[in-house]
Symmetry: C2
Subunit: 209 residues, 2 copies
DNA sequence: TATAAAATAATAGTGACTGTCAATTTAAAC
DNA sequence: GTTTAAATTGACAGTCACTATTATTTTATA
């Protein structure tokens, strides 16, 4: 995966141009989405604004959605997760990994992430794609966790753990879409903290009437 | 929502025919999907097999996906959930609601559900749509829960609860797709039982090396 | 500079989906 | 039972994401 983005040092004119076109497409795409909405923006328009032919677009991104989704975050997160010391609990490790992942991002990257998340939440099509992505990410994490615990990869409890974390992230997305003023990274951490504390699910709701 | 399907008693020829066409479309669609795969089956084929025009298809289902998704399950589940006594914890109530929902289904309905779930898991497009549906279902449930607890509708912990349950259901789907022999309803219950028991998340993983 | 390789553009097509309008079928009024 | 109004359908034309193919241009290398 990461071999798609080689070191800036040994980049020929070719690779440099490709990266530039890639970034241009994303920027112009996001600009048009912002200005006219996602559905109203056609790939033809994005291509024209980026000064390439429509057919070339698909050599850079497999779908229109990919322009927004585009995450290398997953690999980063997993890498960070595997580095966590083995005496941490799963959630502690996951929480730390997420925190480190965010910390490594520049302010620009964080802002761009914020805009992308907002767009993702508002366009059903994108939301669907992002959910699938989460799904796959957590399947991957489930595998990592299983290995870490010496459990089979399809262990039921491990799958449930993965599911619950994934669910937390979705809830965070939803929460943030309703609270645009909230800091995304802070909310993520808050959510994981809640999980770390055991998530008072059993108690919550046994109300005496 | 449920007013779309009126009582069989006072149904004119019109309504009867509509229901019949609807069912025919679903059956023929599922048959074709089974025989040639989802992508390889065009709406034109489904329409032809159902003896209607392609343009009429879209008067019965907004999308090709809807042919597979088609859930009245949500309303049923929510209804069942609201009936649960207030002294049950949230998960207890949710678990009971799911159990009752399944119990009300005929064997045929359960089998059809099984086939649909299997198809949904294997076709990315459908998986995406089903995830969105879950998302919306649980947003609805989050609202119900908030009301039940006299908390604001955007309460953080409530959202997390909804998220975790949704995550559980996704994990169940994934688990079942890898264990086709497993009984879907049983696994759902097992998962919720695990949640009910507190889900040993914190403990899980603090391994001494 | 010539040549091979890679990237791009142009073109034609498929299929889901939308909108419109005329034709048909059914329900209801008389 | 016939007429009338409404609902349902079908035919048609069009949009747009996306695929496949082929010719053309651009870049890297010998």
């Amino acid at each position: 995966m990461s071999e798609d983005i080689p070191e800036p040092a040994k980049m020929g004119l070719r690779e440099k141009k490709k990266l530039k076109t890639r970034r241009t497409l994303q920027q112009q795409g996001m600009r048009l989405f912002r200005e006219q909405g996602y559905d109203a923006t056609t790939i033809e328009q994005i291509a024209e604004a980026s000064e390439i032919s429509p057919s070339t677009f698909f050599r850079y991104f497999p779908t229109k959605e990919a322009l927004v989704l585009e995450d290398d975050d997953d690999e980063l997160l997993i890498e960070s997760f595997m580095k966590q010391p083995a005496d941490k609990s799963l959630i502690q490790a996951f929480r730390a990994a997420v925190k480190e992942g965010f910390a490594e991002m520049t302010r620009e990257e964080q802002e761009s992430l914020g805009e992308r998340v907002a767009l993702m939440m508002s366009v059903p099509e994108l939301r669907a794609a992002s959910l699938i992505q989460m799904n796959e990410t957590l399947l991957m994490i489930a595998r990592l966790v299983a290995d870490r615990l010496d459990r089979p990869r399809d262990d039921f409890e491990v799958m449930m753990f993965a599911g619950s974390v994934m669910g937390a992230m979705m809830a965070v997305q939803l929460y943030c879409s309703e609270h645009p003023e909230a800091d995304f990274t802070a909310v993520v951490d808050q959510a994981l903290a809640l999980y770390e504390a055991g998530l008072p699910l059993g108690a919550l709701g046994s109300r005496q009437v």
